[in-house]
Symmetry: C2
Amino acid sequence: MQAYSSLFTILNQAIDQQQVSLGKAKPQEMYEPMSYILGLGGKRVRPLLTLVGCDLFDANPKEAIHAALAVELFHNFSLIHDDILDNAPLRRGNTTVHEKWNHNIALLSGDGMMVKAFEVLAKSNKVHVPQLLNLFSKTGLEVCEGQQYDMNFETQDNVSVENYIHMITYKTAVLLGCSLQMGAICAGASEHSQQHLYEFGKHVGIAFQILDDVLDVYANDEKFGKQVGGDIISNKKTFMLLDAFELANEAQTKELNNLLFSKEISNSEKVKQVTALYNTLGVKELAIEEANKHTDIALKHLEELEANTAKKNSLKEFALHLLNREV
Amino acid sequence: MQAYSSLFTILNQAIDQQQVSLGKAKPQEMYEPMSYILGLGGKRVRPLLTLVGCDLFDANPKEAIHAALAVELFHNFSLIHDDILDNAPLRRGNTTVHEKWNHNIALLSGDGMMVKAFEVLAKSNKVHVPQLLNLFSKTGLEVCEGQQYDMNFETQDNVSVENYIHMITYKTAVLLGCSLQMGAICAGASEHSQQHLYEFGKHVGIAFQILDDVLDVYANDEKFGKQVGGDIISNKKTFMLLDAFELANEAQTKELNNLLFSKEISNSEKVKQVTALYNTLGVKELAIEEANKHTDIALKHLEELEANTAKKNSLKEFALHLLNREV
């Protein structure tokens, strides 16, 4: 995104600096993994949104740099701990912290990284700290709750599409809303604009996650960068799977259950047959429809807020760019 | 402590209320363990100190109630995660969270409890939130660092007494200093008084931890409430053990190493012989001397700060009561 290249420059410089200082901090055993995971890159969308949220109201984006760093540190803490919870070997194509070091190191450096996020947030302009802390801690708690709901789903039989939307809202979407609103807070934007910006980010986040699940099944293998069908293989309760169960007739329900729990079917055959059932039931289209619904809600909120029109258009364009990933 | 009974009433009411509300919160899997560990009691010294720190400057102690709760929540988060790290089966005589539920639940509810601490802190008077957040997050990071140093000591050969003091300062003492200072911040005390109060709490904490190690060896079994000699059995690098290595002659060093690493000696014999060597070297007295040194430093800081003399005396009495545990 050309419009955000100068914001990205500011952001990357700050994150790189943070990474270097974490890499030097003692005790090394606790700080080195923080530096390591920050260095794995990622798209850095969340902290960028914080700077965007500040710039949107014509304030100097550097006013929001501590909040942006806090968001990125928090997000990376959650990755370290989620990877322990999921027993994941890889993160962004690299060894996860608990695999590269061990579980205790990953637990404690994750803890430290979360506290570090709050420590960095405290460096923001004092006028804004109370509201920033309020929003950031509330959101952090919701992210943990979302992670817990996601874990619960693994062994829960009666998960509804509504439960799923609630889970991804907490696990993923609220942090996008929070990232943007923190920028707006740093810019001194009105409460009204802040709220609309938060809702914009939240609904973009919901749409993003639904489409991410669609991509997992329907993406072009090479462009996607990870194995297509991974969610199907692991029986992950995505929007499409839950919707499929809600729409399936008796025979289709039986077939779906067979596919999920049979130990005789190969992974590739499982992906192929579940996808075929998804096609019959039209759940891909329904998922895209649901994502579009949330995108529309997001854009309505964007319209409502009072900011520079050109900058609002850039943000709209950026969101659509994030969401338009060739499904 | 009679002087603090009304503060204890305020505190216990607030913690009990917090415990009930956590017990009702959803998702239950994440919040129930928080409620459980809060309900195990403990002495609640840290949050009491926050109310004391506020009361000391003649402010309404309720001004500091959110800060006090934040301290107790943070402390309990650290217990949940430390018990995972130490693979401990019991906490305050009850099953630890990871044993009662499982590792993933303990990890995530610990995370949630830490974020909750910050969320509760955010409810403090806005005027004080920036300074509270600054102190609390800095201290939280130090507590994590102290835990990491403690873990490092397990496999580290050349731990000095100085390293040990640094470790307990971070792992234990700074949170006591922080607890008191947060109360002072909520009371609007001067920076000068705040600093002296922090140093008072920190040095009381150091003295407390050194004496705790002495008690582990020399306490009256029944009064102590846990197995005497546990630190010796587990080769824990306490002040006395490190001091013993620093003072031992060649033969004594060899004997000590034999006692620590021999697989043929029974636990009770190990405790007996290591204690005998401690007695020969006089490390108990040296440890008490070191603790007294820190108590004296603490009391000098207490003298320096500007507050109601009667209340300063009560705090002095309370600290000496905490430290005077019949070694």
